[in-house]
């Protein structure tokens, strides 16, 4: 009985470790792996230094170590300076983040000055893994109505799906149920942008005319057809064109201009 209990506890601990490892491994940014590199360096450095000293002794190059005390002194003062600079850097980062947020809000209003807008904060994101709707902190009390266009500093976000007194739900353009009528800026061809489950940063462009000369890097913007979105709002750029054996089935992948994972502030267009 006692042994079973121990096995049970051990199993739970192993499961917790597996869960943590999975979360870490699937969310790790490879650029942040430098920490492990520096940890490896710290471990291997004494061995490396030892070998170098030995090599220098053997080959008679140890005069370099005559100034060791000076170097230690210099190293100490540099470390102090480094700490001071790090502290300044941290303060700078906080100010920079604050500044960026304020700038984002200001840029948004200036960029879309032709429209009457209401600024809003994203307070919640869809809990389902198969949808991408957002919840904003503005509602009918702030003049928000259904089907109003929602934009951000980078481009189109979506439209207001439903409104309560103090909050509103946005159907984001990357949601699988979202469809936006768009224009390819260089060729002015009309196409359809659909959300996908694949990635919360891409859209699938369908109904590309057979004679349309679409190239990677083309900009995509709203066409104004459909009476939801205003014309000319930037959506993103064409990242990839997938050609199939049947020419009518070809489609393109658009990378959205808006980074939805970092979206905090938006504007709701209340009137053109």
């Amino acid at each position: 009985m006692g042994e079973n209990r121990h096995i049970g506890i051990l199993g739970t601990i192993i499961t917790v470790i597996i869960l943590i490892l999975l979360i870490l491994l699937t969310n790790v940014d490879t650029s942040k792996m430098s920490y492990f590199k520096s940890l490896g360096d710290k471990i291997s450095r004494p061995i490396q230094v030892g070998f170098t000293n030995l090599k220098n002794k053997i080959s008679g190059n140890d005069t370099f170590f005559a100034t060791m005390d000076e170097l230690k002194e210099e190293n100490k003062s540099l470390k102090e300076k480094n700490e001071e600079l790090s502290e300044n850097m941290r303060e700078y980062e906080v100010i920079k983040a604050e500044n960026e947020l304020l700038k984002e809000k200001m840029n948004l209003t200036e960029k879309y000055s032709a429209y009457q807008t209401v600024s809003a904060d994203v307070i919640n994101k869809d809990i389902s893994n198969y949808g991408s709707n957002l919840v904003l902190n503005v509602g009918s009390n702030d003049g928000i109505k259904e089907k109003m266009t929602v934009i951000s500093d980078q481009g189109l976000v979506g439209y207001i799906l439903k409104v309560s007194k103090d909050t509103s739900t946005v159907r984001v353009i990357t949601d699988p149920a979202s469809r936006v009528s768009c224009n390819i800026s260089t060729t002015n061809e009309s196409v359809m942008c659909q959300g996908t489950l694949d990635n919360d940063q891409t859209l699938r462009v369908t109904y590309i005319p057979l004679d349309a000369d679409v190239i990677v890097g083309d900009s995509v913007e709203t066409s104004g057809v459909g009476q939801i979105y205003a014309r000319g709002i930037h959506i993103g750029i064409i990242k990839e064109i997938i050609t199939t054996t049947n020419q009518t089935d070809r489609y393109a992948i658009v990378e959205t201009a808006v980074d939805f994972s970092k979206l905090n502030t938006v504007l709701v267009i209340t009137s053109n």
């Binding site: 739970t12 979360i23 869809d126 893994n129 739900t169 489950l197």
Partner: protein, 191 residues
């Protein structure tokens, strides 16, 4: 199957039912907070678990049909009213999970970790596939089988790991609820 039929004739303890409903509502609020604020910070490959499926499954297994339907509707409506444009799919699917849970109870033992894991796998699949399929029909969007199963597999893994970790707690609380509900009372009614 016999067990399932007997279960339907069980008498309900009304005062206990009210107390349990209040406790379950508090549990639901905690789960809602975890689902909306905590788990999005710790996704596995961008995917979060579905705590509501496990919640309704446990109510169906240890409680009864009435509680499973009640909380299936409450939690489903709450989710749909906040995030979705079609109100009704989530409560309907969660109610189905409640019914399926009572059926599972008649088939497998709820004392075994492995059987609970299998129930979680099947319930998550039924809920997610059903919701996605019905939504795709109503909103008329293309079903993406590959990406759907990629997300589903990660969601299943997350749900399984959480079930293993909290198996002891689930079982303890579940049996506590079951004992409370089955205690005879003069104010009982037949379901």
């Amino acid at each position: 199957m016999k067990k399932y039929k007997n279960r339907r004739k069980e008498k309900l303890n009304i005062p206990a039912l009210i107390v349990i409903s209040i406790i379950l509502f508090l549990v639901f609020m905690i789960l809602y907070f975890l689902q909306t604020n905590i788990f999005p910070i710790f996704p596995i490959s961008g995917v979060t678990p579905n705590l509501f499926v496990i919640f309704i499954l446990v109510i169906g297994l240890f409680g009864n049909n009435f509680l499973a339907i009640l909380f299936g509707i409450i939690s489903g409506m709450f989710i749909d009213l906040t995030y979705s444009d079609i109100v009704g799919i989530t409560p309907a699917m969660l109610c189905l999970i409640g019914f399926v849970a009572t059926w599972f109870d008649s088939l497998w033992s709820k004392d075994e970790k492995i059987s609970i894991i299998i129930m979680v796998i099947l319930s998550t699949f039924i809920f997610e596939f059903g919701s996605y399929f019905i939504k795709s029909l109503i909103l008329d969007f293309q079903i993406e089988i590959g990406p759907f199963f990629r997300i589903l597999i990660w969601e299943e893994i997350y749900n399984i790991l959480l079930t293993i970790i909290f198996f002891g707690v689930i079982k303890k609380l579940g049996y506590m609820m079951e004992r409370k509900l089955k205690r005879s009372n003069m104010y009982s009614v037949e379901l």
